[in-house]
Amino acid sequence: MVSLAGEFTKGLWKDIPPFRLVLGLCPTLAVTKSCLNGLGMGMATVFVLVCSNIIVSMLRKVIPKKVRLASYIVIIASFVVIVELLTQAYVYSLYQALGIFIPLIVVNCIILGRAEAFASKNTVVRSALDGLGIGVGFMLSLGFLGAVREILGKGTLFEGSQYMIHVFGQSFEPFTFMVEAPGAFVCLGLLLGIMNVLGD
């Protein structure tokens, strides 16, 4: 019997996506050009994941087995549309930066995976904590990857906010490779390797 706190904390290290649970790679690679974009995407994912986990868990005894996936998809897609509308209305710059990856949260395998593997079998509180843990883990990973790529690729941190810092000073010649597509793949691959070393 895992404790309630355990449901939350497992997402932060033991099952942290995308490093341990290798899922949701597309948004991970696409939006981590800067730390803030990564965190923004992570927050949107947390919202969808927690809400859909709660609803799926509430309805777990009502939804017939044969149409469960279709029901989960409708529920998840609805929360994604809510995120789409809210980001457009309140944080338009984030909406522009994330582009098509906001609607694509719906096909993030992490979300459907948690609904099917966890929320459909557990109580509402446990499902909410599970969603929060995995979601926050995902958000921190995206923020971390974004920070690494931004620091090396642009020499800044938190670009786009008033807290922007030039990590290596103004004269730093940026390693542009890191903010381009190839850098995303290589950076994530190497971080995965480092995580494997730390995990052993």
Partner: protein, 189 residues
């Protein structure tokens, strides 16, 4: 049989609730989203063109219908008195349609500025028509000037290698300027 009925009922109920909820949220956020879109897509160009205005340019916009076409007009005010207005025109560029925002000074009928708000031109080639070095040429010109590239007998220098894109911007400004003159002639607005 009962199982099938249950399947259909549950799925329809979920879809109905979701659809209803989304419709509510969508209508609640609609005006704000439109405002944010204007602010972020057109806003920077409008602010630059109507620089020096003391009012909230996005909030003070007006929608008018001219020649059966809906247009949004941004009005710049100084001390509460309108001094300039800006609107957008379409024209064909090299890669497709482009939208050009332009502003006119109401007291002397000169252009206060021009800005390309959206385009599909080739990055690095046609897209250079968005640079200040090109759009800056329009600033201060009379609304009666010939907004054509010099090769066509006008007053505008083309961006090297992007004559089609340059002509597109000129076309849009030309259309906008003639609309401005027509409206001015008709009323005193």
């Amino acid at each position: 049989m009962i199982e099938y009925v249950k399947m259909i009922v549950v799925l329809s109920a979920i879809s109905a609730v979701c659809g209803f909820g989304l419709a509510r949220i969508s209508s609640a956020t609609k005006t704000r989203i439109e405002e944010q879109k204007l602010l972020n897509v057109k806003g920077p160009a409008v602010k630059k063109i109507l620089a020096g205005s003391g009012n909230n340019l996005i909030a003070d916009r007006k929608e008018i219908v001219i020649n059966d076409k809906k247009m949004i007009v941004f009005i710049g005010k100084k001390n509460g008195v309108p001094w300039a207005l800006a609107y957008e025109m379409e024209a064909d560029g090299f890669g497709g349609e482009m939208n050009v925002m332009m502003g006119f000074n109401l007291s002397d009928n000169t252009l206060t500025g021009v800005g390309v708000t959206s385009h599909k031109e080739t990055p690095g080639v046609g897209s250079r028509v968005t640079d200040d070095s090109f759009t800056g040429q329009f600033k201060g010109k009379e609304s009666t000037a010939s907004f054509k590239v010099k090769a066509d007998g006008g007053v505008i220098d083309v961006v090297t290698g992007a004559s089609v894109s340059s002509r597109g911007v000129c076309d849009a400004v030309q259309k906008g300027a003639s609309l401005y003159r027509d409206v001015r002639a008709e009323s005193g607005k």
